[in-house]
Subunit: 243 residues, 2 copies
DNA sequence: CCCGCAAATTTGTCCGGACTTCTTGCGGTG
DNA sequence: CACCGCAAGAAGTCCGGACAAATTTGCGGG
């Protein structure tokens, strides 16, 4: 009703987007109560099922919290200060807010501990890229990243462009598949000498290392990235809600 | 029907638990296809709504992946090797698999950068505990943890017990409230001299630092914990699924 | 034997309704 | 004034049905 939108995306997503925009525009301040489910049904002219699906998304994003018998209230701003990256959209958005420049390093073979760490079969070949991520094109690097791309997609590597688009998204469009799942493994490590040089930090300084394994809808590994962030510059934040 | 169970928990949760047990018992191997939604409806004598809610939970846990037109398949075991801790149950379970011993350090006042890091008001008082987490009672420490408890709950601190139960769960039972939300902030840091000593690692060695802010259902901060894990011993793993 | 199209299968979206459980506020009672 | 119980309100659970979109399967033709 009040949400024309692309109509190619489901109704609940349109409603969620509309409510999200309202909240971010300040229409509902921190701690304010959202309209009840019944009221939203009337307002958008949709069933309660669709309203609940939309609210479920917002809750998963940490934007609202809901309590039986009480209502839905907007979560405090402090609770969503930092990068959540807990859903696919946010993960892609984070990448869009920064610039990734890389160079092609050709085929490599992953073996031994390195293969096990990345969860690939020992001795398998991968196409290796190396690059730096920055907030602004001229600024300091916030991460040094090794990327390993499945050799079946090697042909598309020359077409990959530096910029705000994620490599995964570009690969998906070039190869004709969609993102299915991302697994993130996070741990601490001491910076290697190359990393330290690239990031401008002392050798063996602590870094946050994030290994992301990207799979398509069939569960096949398409891309693996290993990012090292200087300890002071990066905090990974996430929330867990009841139910 | 086939799931008697406590009946105090919703039907979809019982079905989810039953399917989870079947999968972990090996009834459906890695990559195997689960019965279709219609079949599960018949098998449990429930509506498709309830089946879908159960499957939604399993998908959120990363146990299965689903594709329109294709079915639900059991995710690979390699995808759930490490600690996910992406839902409340898993977070509590992780704690239950280890032992936390602590000592009471009385009231402290959090100020300045420390207060900001933990997301509390500058100068507010908190009840401070300090302890070590181990896999087995005699083994090496896997984490050094500072815990800050809201002063309103100070009276319950003497009743807290060392062991597998989480402090939060104990506090909830003592204070008569339930868990609502947990926020986790993860970053890398260099071990301080006290941490290094307690964990048996070199000073300034990299550690994974996890700050967890526990809130009750009303959104009030009840407990904050700051855990430092030796880099080699701990990897935080999580998955993100489409939709 | 391979390709393309149609049909069957399976999950995704959406509706309307009913009942349950929890919260909140109101008013009556002691 | 403090306490208790009750009623209204709100989200949670569950049902049955319908259609849509994506995938797989099988059939028929080349």
């Amino acid at each position: 009703m009040m949400v024309p939108a692309s109509s190619r995306e489901p109704r609940y997503a349109q409603v969620a987007a509309d409510l999200r925009a309202s909240i971010k525009a300040g229409e509902f301040g921190e701690g304010a109560q959202l309209p009840t489910e019944t009221m939203l049904c009337a307002r958008y002219g949709i069933s309660r099922f669709t309203v609940r699906e939309a609210l479920r998304r917002l809750q998963a994003e940490g934007l609202i919290s809901r309590r039986r018998g009480s209502g839905s209230i907007v979560s405090g701003a402090t609770q969503r200060l930092r990068q959540p990256l807990s859903d696919l959209g946010e993960l892609l958005q984070y990448a869009a807010d920064s610039q990734f420049s890389f160079e092609d390093r050709g085929l490599v073979t992953l073996t031994g501990a390195r293969a096990e760490e990345l969860g690939v079969v020992d001795g398998s070949p991968w196409h290796h890229l190396y690059g730096l991520r920055r907030i602004s094109p001229g600024g300091a690097a916030i991460a040094a990243t090794d990327v390993y791309i499945h050799p079946d997609l090697s042909g598309h590597v020359p077409a990959l462009k530096t910029g705000p688009l994620t490599l995964f998204k570009q690969l998906g469009e070039l190869g004709g598949f969609r993102i299915g799942q991302v697994i993130q493994n996070i741990n601490a490590a001491a910076a290697g000498s190359q990393e330290a040089l690239a990031l401008g930090i002392p050798r063996r300084a602590p870094v946050l290392r994030i290994v992301r394994i990207y799979r398509d809808e069939r569960g096949r590994i398409v891309e693996i990235s290993v990012s090292s962030h200087p300890a002071e510059l990066f905090t990974y934040s996430m929330h867990i809600d009841r139910s």
